[in-house]
C-alpha cells in the first residue's frame, strides 16, 4: 500500500498552499482552475483564514497586494484570459516587491479561446504582461506531484526574493489526477519583519509604493530590482535532463508535454537514435547556460510546445552552436501525441528542414 492520495493538480495545489502556511486566498471562478477556490472555500474558514470570492480577477489580485503587504502568505489562482486582467497589479507587485503567488492553470486563447488546455501563456508569464521593466519567477510543473511541490517552492521563492511567483500549470495537469504525497513544507520561513506593514508600534512608519516622481530614485529602484533578477538567474535556475549524456538530438519541452517528449525519446533510443530531452523547470529564469553547453554537442534541437513557438525564442537565444533548431507545435486542445510528434520528427530528421506544426 502507499502513502499517496489520488488528487487533481488543482486540489494538490490548494492542499500544498495550506501546507505552506498560506493564510488568504482571493479568487474568481474560471475553468479550468475553479477547484482550487472551491476546495479552499471550505478549508480556509474552518481554519480561521481569509477567503474572498472576489468581484473580479482585478479585485482578487489587488486583495493579494494588500494581503501580502501585511507579511501574510496569499494565494491567487486564475486562468489565461483572466490572468491577463491581473497584469496591472502584478506589475505593481513586482515594483512593490510583494511576494504574491499566482497560479495560472492555462486554457486556450487568444481572447476567450476555450477551456481546452494549451501552453499559450508562456510569453504572458515569462516576458510579463504588465507594464515596465520587471520579471516574475515562473515555475512549470510536469506532474501533479510537482504541482504540489512547486506550490511550496513558489511560496518560498516569493518570500525569499520578495517577488511575485507564477506557477504556470497546463490545463491538462490541473484537471488530471495522479497519486501524490503532500509533503510537510520543506522550506525555511523567511523573516519579513524588515518590510511588512503591520503597524509602526516600535519603529518608524513604512510605505510601500511604486509611484516615484524622483527620476534618480526611480532609476535606482529599477536597477536594484534587476540586480535581484541577475542573482535569481545565477542561483535559482532549475531544469530536468533526460538521456542527454550523448545526445545528438535534443528535444526541448516544458510542463506536462515534456513527458510526451520523453516517450518520443524512448522510441528513438530504441531505434538507436541518440536523443535526449531538456525540460526547463524555471521558465524565468530560463536555464540558458545549461542549454548553451548541451547544444555544443548536439546536431539538432527540436522544440515541442502546445503553442505556436513561444519558448522557442528562449531556446534560439540559448543555442550558441550551429545545431539546427526546429519546432513541433500545436496551439490548443488534446496534447500532441507521441505518434504525431514522431511523424513530424521523422520528417525533420530525414529532410533536415523545419517541418513543424
Amino acid at each position: 500500500m502507499t502513502n499517496k492520495v489520488l488528487l487533481k493538480g488543482n486540489i494538490a495545489i490548494a492542499k500544498a498552499a495550506l501546507e505552506s502556511g498560506c493564510s488568504c486566498y482571493f479568487g474568481y471562478p474560471i475553468t479550468p482552475q475553479s477547484e482550487i477556490g472551491e476546495f479552499l472555500s471550505s478549508e480556509m474558514p474552518k481554519r480561521g483564514l481569509g477567503y474572498v470570492c472576489a468581484e473580479s480577477e482585478i479585485a482578487a489580485i489587488n486583495m493579494a497586494l494588500g494581503g501580502t503587504a501585511t507579511g501574510t502568505k496569499v494565494l491567487v489562482s486564475s486562468s489565461s484570459c483572466a490572468v491577463a486582467l491581473m497584469q496591472e497589479a502584478l506589475s505593481y507587485a513586482a515594483s512593490d516587491e510583494l511576494p504574491i503567488v499566482l497560479v495560472n492553470v492555462m486554457r486556450a486563447g487568444p481572447g476567450q479561446g476555450y477551456i481546452y488546455p494549451s501552453q499559450g501563456d508562456y510569453n504572458q508569464a515569462v516576458t510579463g504582461g504588465g507594464n515596465g521593466d520587471y520579471h516574475t519567477i515562473v515555475l512549470s510543473p510536469a506532474s501533479v506531484q510537482e504541482c504540489a511541490d512547486f506550490t511550496q517552492k513558489a511560496f518560498y521563492l516569493a518570500q525569499k526574493y520578495r517577488n511575485p511567483v507564477i506557477l504556470l500549470v497546463d490545463g491538462l495537469l490541473g484537471q488530471m489526477a495522479e497519486g501524490v504525497e503532500i509533503n510537510t513544507n520543506p522550506y525555511q520561513e523567511i523573516d519579513n519583519s524588515s518590510w511588512r506593514l503591520d503597524g509602526n508600534k516600535d519603529r518608524t512608519s513604512r510605505k510601500i509604493h511604486s509611484l516615484e516622481p524622483n527620476e534618480t530614485a526611480l532609476n535606482k529602484h529599477i536597477v536594484e530590482m534587476h540586480k535581484k533578477y541577475r542573482y535569481i538567474e545565477e542561483n535559482e535556475v532549475q531544469c530536468e535532463e533526460y538521456m542527454l549524456d550523448d545526445a545528438d538530438i535534443i528535444l526541448t519541452a516544458f510542463g506536462s508535454l515534456s513527458r510526451h517528449a520523453k516517450a518520443v525519446c524512448n522510441y528513438y533510443r530504441e531505434q538507436g537514435v541518440k536523443m535526449g530531452v531538456f525540460r526547463p523547470i524555471t521558465l524565468y529564469p530560463f536555464p540558458k547556460k545549461r542549454l548553451s553547453e548541451l547544444s555544443l554537442q548536439a546536431k539538432q534541437i527540436i522544440d515541442i510546445e502546445m503553442n505556436m513557438g513561444q519558448m522557442l525564442k528562449d531556446v534560439q537565444l540559448s543555442v550558441l552552436s550551429n545545431a539546427q533548431i526546429s519546432f513541433v507545435g500545436k496551439p490548443v486542445g488534446s496534447w500532441l501525441k507521441k505518434e504525431e510528434i514522431i511523424n513530424i520528427i521523422d520528417n525533420i530528421i530525414k529532410g533536415g528542414v523545419n517541418a513543424g506544426i
Partner: protein, 248 residues
Amino acid sequence: MQVFNVPKSIKKDCTFTFCAGCDHGVAIKLVAQVIDELNIQDRTLAIASSGCSVLLYNVLDVDCIESPHGRGCAVATGAKRAFSANGKDNIVFTYQGDGDFASIGLAESMHSALRGEKITAICINNTNYGMTGGQMGPTSVLNQVTTTSPMGRNEQYHGFPIKTAEQIALCDGTCFSARVALYDYKNIINAKSAIKKAFEYQIKGLGFSFVEILSSCPTNWKLSPQDSHTRIKEELSKIYPVKVFKEK
C-alpha cells in the same frame, strides 16, 4: 503659548504639496486628529490611491501602501482579511478621490461595502480629476465645465453624476455612510466627527464605513479658495446633500 498643534500622526517636517486652497490638507489633518484621538496610530494601515490623494503617504505617519487606480477597497480588503487571519486587529482605511472610488473603482468600492468589509473608506469628492488637470469625473455636476466637457456636462450627452454616499448607504454591508463638507468651521467639526464615527464603526467591527468629503479644487475650478468654498456651499451641497445617510 501654543495655540496650534500638528497632530502626532502627521510626519514631522513634512511638506504638504497640495495646491493653495485645496481641501486635501484639511481632510488629511482631520484623519490624523481622529487617528490620534482613537490612539490607533501604531496599528493603522492607510491605502493611498492614484491621483492627488496618493500624496497622503508623504504626510501621514502610519504604515501606508499605494494601490493601483481604483483598487483601494480591494487592497484594503486583502490587508484587513490578512490581519484578521493572523489574529490582529489592525485598522485599515482607504483615502481615495471620487474618480478612484466611484468611477474606475466602483466595482471594488461597492462590493467591499456589500460584503461588509470591516474597513473605512474616505472619498474626496472635488467633482473632477484633479491631478490630471481637471477632466470630467463621475461626480462632475450637470453644466459643469471641465477640460473634457468644455460646453458643460450635458445629461443627454454625458449622462448623470453619481451620488456616492447615497449609493454606498444602500449596500447592506455598510454600517455608516455620510457626506460632509469643509467650507466653514461648523462643517469641519461635523466632518471630523463623521470620520471619527467611521473609524469607530470599524473598531467595533460593524461593517463597511464610508465618508464622502465635498472638497474644493480651486486650481481646476479656476476659482479662488474663497469662491471655491462658496461654490460648495451654494451649489454643490444642494446637489450633494451634507448628511448622514446610514448609521447602524
